[in-house]
Amino acid sequence: MDFHFNKVEHQDGILDFHRFVLLFNHSFSPRIRFVGELELEHAFVEGLEEAGEIELEQAYLDFLMTRALNVRAGMMLVPVGIINERHEPPVFNGVERPFVDTVIIPTTWFEVGAGVHGEVGRGFRYRAFVMAPLNALEFNAEEGIRGGRQKGAEANVRNVALTGRGEYLGVPGLTVGASFWTGDSSFAVPRLDTTVRVGEVDARYQRDRLELRTQFAYVTVKDAGRLNDALLGLTGVSPNIAEAMRGFYAEAGYRIWNQGSPRDLVAFARYENFDTQYRMPAGFLPLKEFDRDALVVGTTYYPDPDVALKIDYVWLRNQSSVITGANSFNIGLGWWF
């Protein structure tokens, strides 16, 4: 859970209790286990979600069979990227999650489905799930595929999506991962084939005081031109959805105070480049304000390993000559248990 103070240039500061999360678990037997996560965002919910939202982000049963093969079914986190499956504040630097993990990979990304997971050899881990697809009707230029998450709410499964992730953890301190998502997302606009494909690679490395992480993600939307035309016909406005979106970041953190909490302080810097208008379908021009990059510099102080006090400054730029990016100063306090 976390709450923030965000001060964007030329705007009033905002205090927001961003996330309140409750975890539930139960073991029916040593081999059949339940995990649930219920999240309240922005502290307050009213009709039509004007203020916040309650999300059932996880509610699944694990059938633990062998080290190599286990079955999972229910509401699950999509296994794509560094942050989506490990999104609690003490595990990442910065008050807000990386931009790439917000507008390219739409964390927190969760769907209903079923699949398998396990570990083979010395440190190779995988998961592969069949899940409800995205809804192309909700894509847009600024946040890409983010609006298309069905979130397990009476999700349409005329088509299904396949997703998976492989990780190698065999070298101490190093985690290397790659993940994908593919699924036809055109059930709401049936004459199209708007298959969405997400490919992603990432790495995390920690040695002594140094912590490094990097991620690259690429999204394609098939038939994006016809999708824009169809949505123009439906709503009167073309959403200018791109046929390819791309994002990457690199982050370096250094534990400048490394004696264990409460003497535990990390300084970090992260460069991000993310473009939700990376390649446009024929006949559409990119909106350059959505070709963005950001430099995030800040610190994370741990009074306890599960509590993180964060301060950062974000320089946000874009390629538009008309609309400029807004820098921001942010303070956050987050914890989990």
Binding site: V35, E85, V91, R122, S261, P305
Partner: protein
């Protein structure tokens, strides 16, 4: 003056008793993985697991045995567990302290091999 510290070291060695030849296996715990997650020992071999966390507190339980210890949070030291398994087979070790949504992933395998013929 140098004789004093040498004498103290000798006293320390005497107090520690005979040299312990138990094999030490270091395991790192982090949400949501043990590294290494696959360990091999020989039936009847006594080993000592040294367990350290990179984040929150975790548990370490070898399913089907009495071994169950709490691993303290990062920077709060390490846990250790001496284990001797006489029956060959494959055992599962797991985190038995709820540590987050990926808690069920935190498992590993302890393989107990038959002792070679003629082995002690």
């Amino acid at each position: 003056m140098r004789a004093i510290p040498v004498f103290v070291m000798m006293l320390g060695a005497l107090a520690a008793g005979p040299q312990d030849d138990v094999r030490v296996i270091k395991i790192n715990a982090e949400r949501f993985a043990f590294t290494p997650s696959k360990v091999e020992v020989t039936a009847g071999e006594e080993v000592e697991f040294k367990l350290r966390s990179d984040d929150t507190s975790h548990g370490f339980r070898i399913v089907g045995t009495n071994t169950s210890v709490a691993i303290p949070k990062r920077g709060k030291g390490e846990a250790s567990a001496r284990v001797r398994l006489d029956t060959p087979g494959t055992y599962t070790f797991e985190c038995n302290r709820m540590c987050g949504a990926g808690h069920n992933f935190m498992r590993g395998e302890l393989i107990v091999r038959e002792r070679a013929a003629g082995g002690r």
